[in-house]
């Protein structure tokens, strides 16, 4: 439909060339850049309208030649058709969105930017390059890595080490300090060696460890532990317990294994 607008022979030739090897082009922006060259003007003064028409013509011809165009190309064609209508029709004040001029200016910017990048890319590749124009050392020397260890210690380290040595006796494995707790294990350990020799009945309070009978908190703990330990010894058959009545003193004596 836009074929009649492609008046320039150059443009027509360009469009035909594009159709022949559309695969060689890098997307619709690339095609637009190629088409814009035919206008032979500064990219900023390019006629976006004319460019849009050329592109649409290119797409039409591709369709006529039954060339499969990637979706990108068709999306661009639709967008350019929209842009063309915006550029041709008088602006509708009620309409939202950017004006045709703004859209056209942005497209011109994109084309100019892409063209600039192309030129810079060519400049870059044309530079003197390592391994082509200039060269690095051919015979290199291996650098051996030597690890050197320096030992350090501070005066604090030294003093702490000495302090640690001098107070080594004070060190012991971690236990929760429970000063007023006498355990059943402790009571057992204390009672086992002596209970066998206890032939007569006696009050278990006599078996509290030295120094535990005075302070109430300690006495309670020691009494409980000693009683529990005595029960354990009874269970083992090494002691007997008796109590006259409720709340009467509890008495103990060793069994020494004679009765079985």
């Amino acid at each position: 439909m836009e074929e009649s607008n492609v008046t320039s022979i150059e443009a027509r030739r360009a469009a035909e060339a594009l159709i022949v090897d559309v695969e060689g082009y890098e997307g619709p922006l690339d095609v637009l850049l190629m088409l814009s060259r035919t206008q032979k003007v500064d990219l900023r003064q390019i006629s976006i309208l004319a460019l849009a028409e050329q592109y649409l013509a290119f797409v039409e011809e591709a369709k006529a030649l039954r060339i499969e165009l990637a979706a990108d190309y068709l999306v661009m064609a639709a967008w350019l058709a929209f842009l063309k209508s915006r550029l041709l029709l008088p602006p509708d004040p009620a309409e939202e969105g950017p004006s045709g001029e703004e859209l056209a200016a942005h497209l011109a910017f994109q084309l100019e930017r892409l063209a600039a990048m192309r030129e810079r890319a060519a400049d870059l590749m044309a530079r003197d390059r390592r391994g082509r124009e200039f060269f690095a050392r051919g015979i290199t020397a291996d650098v051996t890595r030597v690890r050197r260890i320096t030992w350090t210690a501070s005066l604090l380290d030294l003093m702490q080490a000495y302090a640690r040595l001098q107070t080594k006796g004070e060190f012991r494995p971690f236990v929760l300090d429970r000063e007023s707790i006498y355990t059943m294990e402790e009571a057992l350990a204390d009672l086992r060696p002596i209970i066998g020799a206890q032939h007569s009945w006696s009050d278990i309070s006599r078996f509290l460890p030295a120094g535990w009978a005075e302070e109430p908190k300690k006495r309670r703990s020691a009494t409980a532990a000693t009683f529990a330990a005595m029960l354990e010894l009874v269970k083992e058959g090494r002691a007997e317990l008796r109590q006259g009545e409720t709340f009467a003193p509890i008495e103990v004596r060793g069994k020494s294994g004679r009765d079985g």
């Binding site: 810079r120 890319a121 870059l124 590749m125 391994g131 082509r132 690095a136 650098v143």
Partner: protein
């Protein structure tokens, strides 16, 4: 500095330091940083100064002392390349897409894949990026502070070395491109109106960041 003054040994005379830098640069194919030189030279040496002396000494000679980013190297003078035909390493031909992508990364860094695609108007294939990464000409930069935190690409010291650039600021025509506004990442008109003021802000930040982080900064 204080450390140097306290040193029991004096640093070697500058002439001697120049010899040392000369030996180290001659021995290495890859650029050496001042830090690397300091690590190998006697205590108190100032290779940064020695390198400047050496650079002047080799002016106009068959080999030159060149700066590569933060490092230094000796390279043959480019006008003598014709003598080195036997040393030429056949380089794989880069595709047009790869060359353009490389240029876009160099001039727009740090740049996201989406931005590269926006500039080229076509999607960037995985292979293109891979090829440039493999050549060690580009690497991943830090993520962009935009939604999705996309990764960015930047050029490497190996890129500078290959193309004989002292710094990314020495890219040909960089100033002109910037002056012409062609390094700005202008959003297409309409995207602003559609996305509302919030999106505007975040994009503004992105461009601001880009301007600050660009090769010229």
């Amino acid at each position: 500095m204080a450390e140097r003054e306290q040193s029991l040994f004096e640093a070697p005379p500058m002439g001697e330091q120049e010899r040392m830098v000369e030996a180290m640069l001659f021995a290495s194919a890859e650029p050496l940083t001042i830090q690397q030189m300091i690590g190998r030279m006697p205590h108190g040496s100032e290779p940064a100064e020695a390198v400047q002396h050496l650079r002047r000494r080799y002016e106009g000679r068959g080999v030159q002392v060149v700066r590569v980013g933060e490092a230094w190297a000796i390279r043959t003078a480019p006008d003598l390349g014709f003598l080195m035909r036997e040393e030429v390493v056949e380089q794989k031909k880069l595709s047009r897409a790869a060359i353009e992508t490389l240029a876009i990364i160099a001039y727009h860094q740090p740049v996201t894949r989406a931005e590269i695609e926006e500039i080229r108007g076509v999607s960037v294939s995985r292979g293109t990026i891979d090829q440039l990464l493999e050549l060690d000409w580009i690497r991943l930069g830090r993520r962009k502070m935009t939604p999705g935190r996309p990764v960015t690409f930047v050029v490497t010291p190996a890129f500078l070395d290959h193309f004989g650039l002292e710094t990314p600021r020495d890219l040909p025509g960089l100033r002109e491109l910037r002056a012409a506004g062609l390094l700005e990442n202008r959003p297409p008109p309409g995207t602003e109106a559609e996305e509302g003021p919030q999106a505007d802000d975040s994009q503004g930040d992105m461009f601001g960041e880009e301007a600050e982080d660009g090769p010229e900064s």
